[in-house]
Amino acid sequence: MFDLIFIVPLLPLIAFTINGLFRNKLSKTVVQSLAVGSVGVSFVISVLLFVELIGLDPAARSITQVLFAWIPVGDLQLNIAYLLDPLSAVMILIVTGVGLLIHIYSIGYMAHDPDVKRFFCYMNLFMFAMLTLVLGDNLILLFIGWEGVGLCSYLLIGFWFEKKSAADAGKKAFIVNRIGDFGFLIGAFIIFWAAGTLQFNELRAVAPEMFVVGGSAITLATLFLFFGATGKSAQIPLYIWLPDAMEGPTPVSALIHAATMVTAGVYMIVRLNFLFVMAPDTMMVIAIVGCATAFIAATIGLAQNDIKRVLAYSTVSQLGYMMMACGVAAFTAGIFHLMTHAFFKALLFLGSGAVIHSMSNEQDMRKMGGLRKHIPITYKTMLVGTLAIAGFPLMSGFFSKDEILWKAFSSGQGHWALWLMGILTAGLTTFYMFRLVYLTFFGERRYDDHVAKHVHESPKSMTTPLIVLAALSVIGGLIGIPHALGGGAHFKKFLAPVMAAIPGETAHGGHHDMTMEYILMAIAISIFAAAWFLARYLYRMNIDKVTSLKASMAGIHKMLLNKYWVDEFYGAAIVRPIVNGSIFLWKIIDVLIIDGIANGLGYIARDMSQTFRRVQTGFVRGYMVAFLFGVVLIIGYLVVR
């Protein structure tokens, strides 16, 4: 059975190849069935692999499938090899499972798009890259997947490239991610230089000997890797690309920019947790950055009017949660939240897509309202998603968030301030999510008759994934119920073999006082209730008060609406001084970053090229002169030397 590991990523690749090469000849149905079918089979195999893995002894749950030696000579011994262990098993389940649902959803959502075949090509390529990322058994393979998903993300954000905002958003995502990738590569190089290997299991074995806990090499390496993660997982300071990425089709937002790709940074940190725990300073940075991102993004989410943008900032915020979990060494909790978040955020995005679909592509919530009766399935499923993300007791988000908050408070790396910010963020999350629900589904209808004529529930292919995801959002948390609530914490036990203990701490930290955990849980629930009530009071009962409230807090509202002017700040503080500073420097930036690799060395190179090509005069005797010039010069060098 474990021989089949490589099939999981291979199938989408095959589908991509066939569809990519023959999409002119194949019919739309064939392309779609190939695309969806390949992901479906991958999912089935993933489930089988998972079952098989559970059947093994916990200590033996790490299977490496070496396909072949790739870079065999010299110091760097690298294989194309896939690693199946509890962590990657969970990840491929999430990726193929949620991916499959979103592929099915896309059939309905993209039905009217003329370029739907291209869309499915990119989606399949993405699946391949993402599965390579999570299954790769070394950092280089992970990086290839990392770049692959980045490329697909770029292609899919700019899918409607005739739209300038979409093309710009794609470009922004590309640039920001390249900056992060640079950090990733430096981190990987430092690790290779210090440890001599990039293979995960080998690294884990040699790390304690090769690195000193808290030493500069490990701290630097992990900091750079984390910087790479801030790019991919949209953390401060590189989060700015994600909200713009919503220019892509909604299934893309759900799959890439909520459920899977953006969690790659979290996955990478968890994958290398044995390195990160050796660098307490980095851990602190991660916790603070994650916590700050969670809070700031949540506040921005309060004032957004575009339904997808609210969800985008919510995603940034939730990713901050996961990062915070990693920072306090609660890696299991991070992955747990990653999983539940994949369920409910995919659900919310797909739901918002269904709303947008039924509203004839209107995204502004101020022009919605009262949709509850017209699109009941969408409404119900989105409500479930909202309850899950807000942490309604016993829903999936409740358990995963609670786990993170408890760890933030109690773990050795934790601090009560982290917990406080976390709980405030949870309140904000509840508030803006119910604001979204009330503005969209309740109250007066605020759209015109023209739109009203077309309001309709989405086709089956779209509602079915919503229902499945809603079910998962409800029950997804059950596998990870903590001991405090009488659960077995199965998820934690399952992932335990992958996680490293923090050096200097005992493995379990002794039995803590359950009372404290109950108290914190109670606070969380009450904050949830308060925020819900406030949102209900403002947006359900007294929607007119919102206007006066907005007026009374005009300054803050403006600040939030404009996302703290971060984009403008980056523009003013970074881009403009460079523009004005020096033409030369600007060209370097232009070359290396803005124009990306595609535009190459840009103007300098092109000018040089234009000059130097004139050397080739076309006169054959001139060529002979150059020839002799070379001979004489080199003889001169050899003789004089």
């Binding site: 090469l21 002119n24 010299g74």
Partner: protein
């Protein structure tokens, strides 16, 4: 009696070339198929013979004059591969010729034989004859389109620069002969090694020698040989002929020039410098002067080739500058002067063969169908011929060195060898330049995929052209993902050298 069994592959190909020439006399002039297929078959059989009769050497007295070692076998495979692919993509070109079709293929085979001799030669006269047997048929082939001004211009330029460079090479060889009193490479190696081990590197004016006693003449000889051989590789500043000749020559010949003649020249350079003069490199790396000088040549070549390629509009000319730049990368492997260096050169050439032959095949195919040769003419190709466009993308990305294609592995090995040898600065420059190269390689891809045009040309390759594209496409992909077997082979070739 001299044992000539190692020569059997070359002799066979020679006979077949004459057979092809004869076939043209007797077969109908209407068709190009017979001589072309016979040539392709001959090349394949020669490939088998190369392995069948490998390992031995032709000796004159105690000195080997022609060796069929694993190193030469490896390069002969590359050369024969290039010849096979060139013939395969020549059908269209040859079809439009009014006469002399048989000669076209015969000349190609003669040139191939010359290259095989060049790769195996261990004696100066044989080396020179092999070199000229490579070049003279190519003069004719380059100018083969008789009514085409560009083609005849390319012929003239190639002839003048080529003949002058071989005169310069010859002058160097004559000095080397005078210096050592022998034409056998292994005797030359012994004598120079003895000399240099006792005197250090190149003798200065005051240095006395126990050979002929000519001091700086030796460096002059060396340099002239370097110039004559790097001319084949199109190393700056001995590259000026390449863009013009590549642009003017019939496309399959351009492809053959850029791969076959480069591989042969490379093998000769490796034989002379890494093999014969190993004593220099061995004792004084990496700060010896010939190493530094060659490193500077490689650096200048990479910079000039890549930079100038950016502004080219004609795709053949762009590929010409690209192949100049590629030669710069390859030279890094020679400079590394180690087993890994030789192996990486071989692998690079192997990977380069697939990508370059494939790219030129598509260029030729496209020009045949549409008569257009500019990069911008490729707009919209992804819509009309998605498979051709996908293949072209693969070739471009392989040339640029993007994983997981063969070009990436090739660059990786070259760089690993150079770092091992201590040329880190050269590797950094090469990396930078490969970023630059991405500009013009990716530009082709961008134009094919992202630029709309009303181009309606659907490219359907003929069977042989399709075969060429399939083989090159598979090669680029397969040896990027599974390079192991070829690498092992390339690594074995290095065992002919004492490092």
């Amino acid at each position: 009696m001299i044992n000539i069994t190692p020569l059997i592959p070359e002799l066979f190909l020679l006979v077949m070339a004459i057979v092809v020439l004869m076939l043209d006399l007797f077969s109908s002039r209407r068709t190009v198929v017979v001589p072309a297929y016979v040539s392709m078959a001959a090349v394949i059989i020669t490939g088998f013979l190369v392995f069948k009769f490998g390992g031995d050497a032709v000796r004159w007295g105690s000195n080997a004059i022609f060796v069929a070692d694993s190193f030469s076998q490896f390069f002969k495979v590359i050369i024969l591969g290039a010849a096979f692919l060139a013939i395969g993509s020549s059908f269209g070109t040859a079809d439009r010729m009014t006469h002399h079709r048989g000669e076209f293929f015969a000349l190609l085979l003669f040139s191939t034989v010359g290259m095989m001799f060049l790769v195996s030669a261990k004696e100066l006269i044989l080396l020179y004859v092999g070199l000229e047997l490579t070049t003279i048929p190519l003069f004719v082939l380059v100018a083969y389109q008789k009514t085409n001004r560009a083609s005849s211009e390319a012929g003239l330029k190639y002839l003048i620069i080529g003949a002058a460079s071989s005169a310069i090479l010859l002058y160097g060889l004559s000095l080397l002969y005078g210096y050592t009193g022998t034409t056998y490479l292994n005797e030359i190696a012994q004598k120079t090694a003895v000399y240099f081990l006792s005197h250090g590197f190149i003798p200065n004016a005051e240095g006395t020698t126990d050979l002929v006693g000519m001091g700086p003449a030796f460096s002059v000889a060396l340099m002239m040989i370097i110039a004559g051989l790097t001319f084949k590789l199109a190393i700056v500043p001995f590259h000026m002929w390449a863009p013009d000749v590549y642009e003017g020559a019939p496309t399959p010949i351009t492809a053959f020039l850029s791969v076959g003649s480069k591989a042969a020249g490379l093998a000769a350079i490796i034989r002379i410098f890494d093999g014969m003069l190993y004593a220099f490199s061995h004792d004084t790396m990496p700060n010896d002067s010939w190493g530094t000088m060659m490193a500077v040549l490689a650096a200048v070549t990479m910079v000039a080739g890549n930079i100038i390629a950016i502004r080219q509009t004609n795709i053949k000319r762009m590929l010409a500058y690209s192949s100049i730049a590629q030669a710069g990368y390859i030279l890094i492997g020679v400079i590394a002067a180690s087993k890994l260096g030789v192996a990486s050169c071989g692998f690079y050439m192997f990977a380069y063969m697939f990508a370059n032959m494939g790219a030129f095949a598509i260029v030729g195919l496209y020009a045949e169908k549409t008569g257009k040769k500019n990069i911008s003419d490729f707009a919209g190709l992804s819509k009309t011929s998605p498979i051709i466009a996908a293949l072209m993308t693969m070739f471009m990305l392989s040339l640029a060195g993007i994983p997981p294609l063969a070009g990436f592995m090739a660059k990786y090995y070259i760089f690993a060898a150079a770092i091992e040898a201590g040329y880190t600065w050269l590797v950094i420059l090469a990396l930078l330049m490969s970023v630059v190269s991405l500009y013009y390689y990716a530009n082709v891809v961008r134009i094919m995929y992202m630029v709309d045009s009303d181009n309606k040309h659907h490219i359907i390759p003929s069977f042989p052209a399709g075969l060429v594209l399939a083989l090159t496409g598979i090669g680029v992909l397969l040896f990027g993902i599974l390079p192991q077997s070829i690498l092992d082979m390339a690594y074995k070739t290095a065992s002919s050298f004492i490092f």
